[in-house]
Symmetry: C2
Subunit: 213 residues, 2 copies
DNA sequence: CGCAATATGTGAAATCCTTCACGAGTGAGC
DNA sequence: GCTCACTCGTGAAGGATTTCACATATTGCG
C-alpha cells in the first residue's frame, strides 16, 4: 500500500484527534479509539500507520505523545506554516481573523486586495495592494495562498500567484482550479456543499436508487 | 452501479458546469467537455448519466437544456432551497451575505445567535435569538442549517438543531459531527484543508509521494 | 511466574470505483 | 441518399482501497 492523498488526509485527522486527546490527559490510545473519532475502521487506522512505519505495542496500543511527534515529523508541521490571504472581502476577512489557525501552527502573514479602501499596511495583519504581492511572496518565501477573490477574476489571480512563486492554493471561488505542474490546489466550494446536502437529504427521503433498471 | 454519494456530488458539478455553458450559449455538449470541466474521465461521465437513465444521442452528444432540466429533477432543486445560519460571527456573517447562494437557488432565511448585540430581527435577513430557533424551524419548515458557532458549543448546538427538526447540517466547527439516523452532516474544516495543503506540498517537494500518477 | 486476555500488524479476500474497449446508432457532408 | 467519422452506452477488466481474519506479541493479574 502506498501513500495516496487520502492517506495523508487521514493522518492529519488522526493527528488533530490525538492533540485533543492529549489535552484531555490521554497517554495511550487504541486503533479503535482513533477509528471512532475519525469515522473509519480500526483496521484502516493500523494500515495507514503501517505505511509509515508507525508502530504500537501489541497490547498497549499507541503512545499519544510518541504518535503526535512522529506524525508531525511525517507531515512536516514542525515549524509555523505561513500563508497569505488574497481578496480581503467578506470571506477573506473572516479567515484573516480566524483564531483557529493559530492552534494548527498556521499564521496569516498578510492580506492583499485591489480595493484601495481595504488597504491598511499597519494593521496587525497588514493588508497590502495586490501589486505588491509578487514582491512580498518572494521576499517572505511564502508558498501557500488562500484565494478569496470574486469568481470573475479568480483564474487570472491564481495565475499571478503561481507566477509569483506560490505553490499551494486554497481556493474559495466557485471555479475548479486544477492542480498542475508543481502547484497543489484545494478547491472549497461552499455553495456546492450545500447543494449536495439538499440532494442527499432528498435522496435519503426517497431512497437512493432512482435510476432505471 | 448504484447511486453513491460520490455520484451525486459529481452530478451537481455537471449541473453547475452545464449552467455556465448554457449562459455561454452552448446548445449541445459531449461527455468529453464535461469530463474536462469537472476533472474526471469521459467514460465516468457517461456511466454517471446511465445510472439515472440520462441519455444523449449517438453523435450529437447531450442537449444542454434537456440535461439541466433532468438533473434538476433528479437532484430535486426545482424550488428555492431554504437554510438558516446558526452563529452569526465572522464566518456566519460572511455566509449570510454571500451573493453566490442566490445563483444556486439557495436562500438564507434567518440567522441565530446567543449574543444580544448581534440580534436584529428587522435586518433584510433577520438575526434572532437562538431560543427562537426551534419555533422558526418548525413554523418555516426549515430542513438545513449552517453551523458556525464556536467549537466548544458546536456539538450541543447541533443536538438542539436536530431536536428542532433540522435534517441536514453544514458544519464549520472543527469537530467531526457524524451523520446518523436521518440526519445528514457535511463537515467543512478549513484549517484541516490548509494543513493538508502544506503536507501535500512537502510531499511533492521531497518526491516522497509514493502515490498515484 | 505463568496464563489469559487483548490489541497489533499484515497477507489475503472482498468490495468499490474507474477506465477500457468496442458495438451501435447518427448526424454532417458531399 | 450514402457514407463514415464520431460519440454514446455498457459489459468486462483493471486498480485501488478497505475489511477480514488470524498469528503474534505484550501486559495485567491472579
Ligand atoms: N462570502 C462567502 O461566504 C463565500 C462563500 C463561498 C464562496 N465564496 C467565494 O469567495 C470569493 C470571495 O467572496 P466574498 O463574499 O468575500 O466577496 P467580496 O466581494 O466580499 O470580496 C472579494 C474581495 O476581493 C477583492 N478583489 C477583487 N479583485 C481582486 C484582485 N484582482 N486581486 C485582489 N483582490 C481582489 C475585492 O476588492 C474584495 O475585497 C468569491 O469567489 C465567492 O464566490 C464566498
Ligand atoms: N472565521 C473563520 O474563518 C473560520 C474558519 C474555519 C472554521 N471556523 C469555525 O467556525 C466557527 C465560528 O467561527 P467564527 O470565527 O465565526 O467565530 P466567532 O466567534 O466570530 O462567531 C461565533 C458566533 O457564534 C455565536 N454563538 C456562541 N454560542 C452560540 C450558541 N450556543 N448558539 C448560537 N450562537 C452562538 C457567538 O455569539 C458568535 O457570534 C468556529 O467553530 C470556528 O472554528 C471559522
Amino acid at each position: 500500500m502506498s501513500a495516496t492523498k487520502e492517506v495523508v488526509v487521514r493522518l492529519t485527522k488522526y493527528k488533530n484527534v490525538l492533540e485533543k486527546l492529549r489535552s484531555l490527559g490521554f497517554v495511550k490510545v487504541f486503533s479503535d479509539n482513533l477509528a471512532d473519532a475519525v469515522g473509519v475502521s480500526p483496521a484502516l487506522v493500523r494500515k495507514d500507520f503501517s505505511v509509515f512505519g508507525l508502530t504500537g505495542k501489541k497490547r498497549a496500543g499507541y503512545q499519544v505523545d510518541d504518535l503526535i511527534a512522529q506524525l508531525n515529523r511525517i507531515l512536516g508541521v514542525d515549524e509555523v506554516q505561513r500563508v497569505i490571504v488574497v481578496g480581503c472581502g467578506k470571506i477573506g476577512t473572516a479567515l484573516m481573523r480566524y483564531r483557529g489557525f493559530a492552534r494548527e501552527r498556521i499564521r496569516v502573514v498578510a492580506g492583499f486586495d485591489v480595493d484601495p479602501s481595504k488597504i491598511d499596511p499597519n494593521a496587525p495583519i497588514p493588508i497590502r495592494d495586490i501589486n505588491e504581492m509578487p514582491y512580498i511572496v518572494k521576499s517572505e518565501k511564502i508558498q501557500v495562498a488562500i484565494l478569496a477573490v470574486p469568481e470573475t477574476v479568480a483564474a487570472q489571480v491564481a495565475e499571478a500567484l503561481i507566477a509569483a512563486g506560490i505553490r499551494g492554493i486554497l481556493n474559495f471561488a466557485p471555479i475548479l482550479l486544477k492542480s498542475q505542474n508543481n502547484v497543489v490546489v484545494q478547491n472549497i466550494n461552499i455553495a456546492l456543499e450545500l447543494e449536495n446536502l439538499f440532494c442527499l437529504l432528498r435522496f435519503a427521503e426517497q431512497g437512493l436508487d432512482r435510476g432505471r433498471p
